[in-house]
Symmetry: C2
Subunit: 326 residues, 2 copies
């Protein structure tokens, strides 16, 4: 199968766009401001113009596009191609993004949420390559999730599945932004890791982090992992809490869709091997003893391009399966 | 598609066998003792003879069989047709049950674990009919699980997926038979429900159940639900614990594979609506508030025939998909 695939990663601030060849090799990419406050038509026109510019620069034209993949934050009716609403793009309400983009570009549009798209990218060409079952977590402000089971993304009955940050690990535990108590996200996202450290300091815990809080007025998860490296006891406690919460979530997914590989992405993986080591340690401590598991826990490899690569890869997959656009 | 399907449900004590027509209508069924201590060849010969007897009685012969479905407890390599070992059938070690049965019956054999088979039965013709995504729990000695996602059973990378009784709901909680702490099974199986009541009585709790313990020497989950009905306070506490553990597990599966319907089966569902009401109450109390969920929580409808119906239905499905035997 020859031809060009386009991957679009829509964020509240920037839209990233990449052109890929039939082997998913990146031909060129760019990033433009989203200008979400200008409303959907302006944003989508700009996306389409940017795609055309990239094509022209590459000596290609609209007719070379086989399919376009696009990822946005939810909630959306992905299979119907409609963004229901968006926290970061308040003017986007019930926007038929697939139809609008198709009118401009002509090619079929494949649409999914940003976490699923990044998950698919890792599955197709990144850290999940070579296996049929993966589970994917992004550790950022919240915790996003994705599941590939037997080579297919799990969407769920209303396309709200794989919200793995909202699986509960401590019933009646910390309040999560979603309204539940005890979600993994309430403990182990980058924001929750920083917040738990801040709360401990405010409650009087001794730590080298108090100087950071005093000077900067806030603490980030990056600060916590830096102070862990320099031997701070509170940082150890807090990051152990993060690792344990993620490990329990991994065990629960092992007993649900049984991934061969669990892939962590997102800003907090900058913490490095110490994060993975912690997750593996608590995983081994809490997982069942009746059989040895050969599950692999690792970092994503696609970095910041995961969104555009995943979108293009998903477009290619759906096209190959000849399902047509979702 | 015309022709006959056979469903076989292998338990440690009895083997149930059913003949079904192409619409999965039960033509006839029987139950024979497993005689597991006679070893695999004897057991499989007996299964085959029993199938032949049922066929003859129905005016049919081996050539009328389109496919045979069989469910056994794990662990097994289902896709390779091999029982690795069995707690209830100690002489069954690395038994190529599909090949051995195929040699006797000629027809293709479709093999899966007993919980997956029962789950598929409910999905195909029982409580899960009409939707594409279900989660299934059997509440017995342990808690078995099954997942149908987008119309397909979830097996996982090593065919050990959907062990939902071993998802952890209370990290560092009660010790489970599997070696983990805090599994759903350690709280909410029929056995664990009875055990928690017994432990409370032994610790001095006041309850009308103490008379049962004194007289019978043991308590069952049936006793606990009977005493709940007559207003016993301890029985309320214990059954609330069961319902809450199951509700948290349901919420976690909502955020994983997002079933439209969650189906409960197994001996403990004899407790009736009070069990479902409890699960729904804790589900609604603990589930997120950012959107309204339309998940249905209900009982299985196939009863004791779930194993043979599910096996026949799975055989039909696999045959229809022309994947050949698994």
């Amino acid at each position: 199968m020859s031809g060009t695939f386009v991957g679009i990663d829509v964020g509240g601030t920037n839209v990233k766009i990449g052109l890929f060849d039939a082997e998913l090799k990146l031909l060129s990419k760019t990033s433009v401001t989203t200008d979400a406050d200008m409303g959907p038509q302006v944003v989508i026109d700009k996306m389409a113009r940017t795609v055309e510019t990239l094509l022209t620069e590459a000596g290609l034209s609209l007719k070379d596009i086989v399919a376009v993949g696009i990822g946005t934050p939810g909630p959306a009716k992905y299979s119907e191609g409609i963004i229901i609403r968006s926290t970061n793009m308040p003017k986007f309400k019930n926007v038929p993004i697939c139809r609008m983009l198709n009118e401009k570009l002509g090619a079929p549009i494949v649409f999914d949420n940003d976490a699923n798209v990044a998950c698919w990218g890792e599955y197709a060409v990144g850290a999940g390559k070579g296996v049929k079952d993966i589970v994917f977590f992004t550790l950022g402000t919240g915790i996003g999730g994705g599941i590939v089971s037997n080579g297919e993304l799990v969407h769920g009955c209303d396309e709200n599945g794989a919200e793995l940050g909202h699986t509960i690990i401590y019933p009646d535990g910390r309040l999560c932004n979603c309204g539940q108590r005890g979600c993994a996200e309430a403990y182990a996202s980058a924001d929750s890791t920083a917040r738990r450290a801040t709360e401990a300091l405010e409650a009087g815990a001794e730590s080298s982090l108090s100087k950071v809080l005093d000077e900067k007025g806030r603490i980030t998860s990056k600060d916590v992992y830096e102070h862990l490296a320099s031997g701070d006891k509170l940082a150890k406690e807090i990051t152990d809490g993060t690792a344990k919460a993620l490990a329990i979530t991994c065990i629960n997914m092992l007993h649900a869709t049984e991934p061969k590989r669990i892939v962590f992405a997102g800003g907090m993986i900058a913490a490095g091997e110490v994060l993975l080591d912690g997750i593996r340690r608590f995983f081994n401590e809490h997982v069942w003893t009746i059989k040895t598991e050969s599950i692999e826990i690792c970092f994503a490899t696609l970095g910041e391009d995961a969104g555009i690569i995943g979108a293009a890869a998903l477009a290619q997959y759906v096209k190959r399966r000849e399902r047509g656009p979702r």
